[in-house]
């Protein structure tokens, strides 16, 4: 192929012709990529032996599922946004908002359930603001979410006044203990299954999910099909915000407390999980099943790297390399067909 054939800008209105042609064959391959990642995940489980003598074990699988829960929920929001052709860099602040609000409202004497609901609603509102600004003004999504995320982080810091970590409500923390089981399986794993089912349903069966695909494939075409582009954008970012908030709540429970940096480690893995799962970063294609596999695979790799005692930096290098390899892989596969 000749040089210089790249898509111009992320959010520039794309011409429909360049987009529609490769969708058919590429779609088929994308379905395979989700499968490939699941197979890779199953292959990597026994390979964990290389990282530590005690792997693979039942507790490793349980840990992957429990730790993968947070990434799966965050990557669900990120995946929806990527599906529309955007990217969400406000993840860290939204997760922190969810955790902080739950903790501080509960500390102020509000029942835990109400606190959780209020926190998730607040995160939904932040996401909706993202969507509103993006759809009203047509700014690039990554700049808007970067700016909103920074504003939110700064406001949180200002409001919290550098307060120490929030404590988790007792019931919430109990939910995430390994001993808390339902039919012999930790509750966190049940939560993972429920969240996976909800994610699959929302992305593939609801109007919102299908319209997100439509938006990602071609905004003009979606508009012609009478899709209210602005409303879909706002709802997609809102739902994504709710997912981040929920993840924040769960992280608060899991670690029995959380400071304002709780969301920081999740932004980059969330994008990596979505890309590894086979979603096109330009939007319009990808499955939540692939994202789930990507999230679990990254979690497993993360646990393995920690087990070998390598520095934290190697985890980042792997995440970045995985993104680039997945991009190149899907590009090459798209070219072949």
């Amino acid at each position: 192929m000749t040089s210089g054939i790249t898509e111009p800008i992320v959010n520039a209105p794309r011409s429909a012709d360049s987009q529609s042609a490769p969708t058919g064959p590429r779609r088929d391959w994308m379905r395979n990529q989700a499968l490939i990642v699941w197979v890779l995940l199953l292959l990597c489980l026994p390979l964990s032996r290389l990282a530590s003598e005690s792997f693979p074990s039942v507790s490793l699988v349980a840990n992957v599922l429990i730790l993968g829960l947070f990434l799966a929920v965050i990557a669900f929001g990120q995946g929806l946004v990527v599906l529309t052709g955007g990217i969400d860099l406000s993840v860290a602040s939204s997760v922190a908002l969810g955790a902080y609000l739950t903790g501080s409202l509960w500390a102020a004497g509000i029942p835990a359930v109400v606190a959780v609901i209020l926190a998730v609603v607040a995160c939904t509102a932040v996401g909706a603001i993202n969507g509103l600004v993006i759809s009203r003004f047509g700014f690039p999504a990554f700049i808007v979410t970067l700016a909103v995320g920074t504003i939110l982080a700064s406001v949180l810091l200002g409001v919290a006044r550098g307060a120490p970590a929030q404590r988790s409500p007792e019931g919430l923390a109990a939910l995430f203990r390994q001993e808390t089981t339902l039919i012999g399986v930790p509750v966190a794993i049940w939560l993972f299954l429920v969240m996976a089912a909800v994610g699959l349903f929302v992305q593939h069966k609801t109007t919102l999910g299908l319209r997100a695909y439509a938006l990602g494939n071609s905004v003009p075409a979606a508009r012609n099909a009478r899709v209210n582009v602005a409303r879909v954008t706002v709802s997609v970012y809102g739902v994504a915000g709710a997912a981040y908030g929920l993840a924040g709540v769960m992280l608060l429970g899991y670690s029995s407390g959380a400071d304002l940096n709780v969301g920081e480690p999740w932004l980059l893995p969330s994008i990596a999980a979505v890309v590894v799962g086979g979603a096109a970063i330009r939007g319009g294609s990808g499955t939540y099943s692939g994202t789930l596999a990507g999230a679990l695979l990254l979690t497993l790799i993360g646990i393995d790297i920690s087990a070998t005692g390598l520095a934290e930096g190697y985890k980042q290098i792997v995440y970045g390399a995985v993104i680039l390899i997945a991009l190149l892989g899907s590009r090459l596969a798209g070219r072949r067909s």
Binding site: S3, I9, L146, T150, L268, G313, R331
Partner: protein
């Protein structure tokens, strides 16, 4: 669009944007001087110039890429890496500092080249590629220096930050940088970069070597980030594997304040330098007003959104005026 056309378009645009950016900068810095008496001396001016230099250098890099229509997030990773390399090696080998600087800048150029090749030859999206390299570079920086620390010889720090007689070195650096930007934007490759960003197909058809131009821009940008990282090291005199992280936001804020178009094909790097100056001046105003430091993030974020909104709002105003005249003309016909 022919190159000649895009050249005229650009020169008109550049002048206007630079002028507006200059007005904004003069207003911001003037306000700082007005409200804070202790900023009105040569020492404070030197500090100001020093503080804005790394941001200005990095923003010029991201502007080069943005002009071709790409987004470069690797700025944060490259600055972190160059910062930790300088902070871990310079103190051990004080004699080899010029060599280390050369190696770091060469490394930055190499990173930019890889970005450019991945974007152009592999046809990947710039945002995704540079996000990947950003994460990898941050990881490498964490491996090189897991926690903030390290040091640089004092003479290296002073050589880059102390004023040379009455003239701050930083000011000389900034002026040289502005001159280089101007020279680049009038050079054949610079003109071609605007053409590529404005209309890729047209540039391709006019015989512009689109891929080569893009790769040159990414490569130069990588070198600039590394240089920004070196200057940052001279200021902080230490290393931090996350030193580059804030630049992700501030570079885009500086470009927004410099009215660099986020769709590519327009904008001027000189205006981005002025934008960086305005961005450094704004927190000083907040400080003078007695607002706590941690609100400065909110300020920078809002500044991006407001600066982005200005062209849209003026366009909407113009558009809302136009249809009315259309209707009036249309009715008699």
């Amino acid at each position: 669009m022919s190159i000649v056309e895009s050249l005229t378009r650009r020169s008109i645009g550049t002048n206007r944007e630079t002028r507006i950016a200059l007005i904004v900068f003069v207003a911001c810095y003037g306000a700082v001087l007005f409200v804070t008496p202790y900023e009105r001396n040569s020492y404070a001016f030197n500090n100001f110039a020093v503080l804005m230099t790394p941001l200005a250098i990095a923003a010029v890099g991201t502007t080069l890429v943005l002009i071709t229509g790409g987004f470069d997030l690797s700025v944060a990773g490259t600055i972190s890496l160059s910062n930790v390399i300088a902070a871990t090696t310079m103190a051990k080998h004080p004699d080899a500092i010029p060599l280390i600087m050369l190696i770091v800048i060469a490394l930055g150029l190499l990173i930019g080249l890889v970005n450019g090749l991945l974007v152009v030859r592999a046809g990947l999206q710039s945002l995704a590629v540079t996000l990947g390299t950003f994460i990898i570079l941050t990881g490498i920086a964490l491996v090189v220096l897991p926690a903030p620390g390290g040091e640089v010889p004092e003479f290296f720090a002073l050589a880059l930050t102390d004023p040379l007689g009455p003239v701050p070195i930083a000011l000389i650096v900034l002026l040289l940088l502005a001159g280089a930007c101007w020279a680049f934007s009038t050079s054949p490759i610079g003109v071609a970069a605007y053409a590529v960003g404005a209309d890729r197909q047209a540039a391709l058809m006019s015989g512009v070597r689109v891929g080569m131009v893009e790769i040159v821009c990414y490569t130069l940008a990588g070198g600039l980030y590394a240089a920004a990282g070196l200057y940052l090291t001279a200021i902080t005199a230490s290393g931090d594997p996350n030193a580059g992280r804030p630049f992700l936001l501030t570079c885009f804020a500086a470009m927004a304040l410099g009215l660099v178009g986020f769709r590519g094909g327009s904008g001027s790097a000189v205006a981005a330098i002025l934008g960086a100056g305005s961005l450094v001046a704004l927190p000083k105003l907040l400080f003078a007003a007695g607002v706590e430091d941690f609100w400065s993030g909110a300020l920078q974020g809002s500044v991006i959104l407001i600066a982005l909104a200005i062209p849209v709002i003026t366009m909407r105003l113009a558009a809302s005026r136009r249809p009315r005249t259309d209707v009036q003309e249309g009715v008699p016909a």
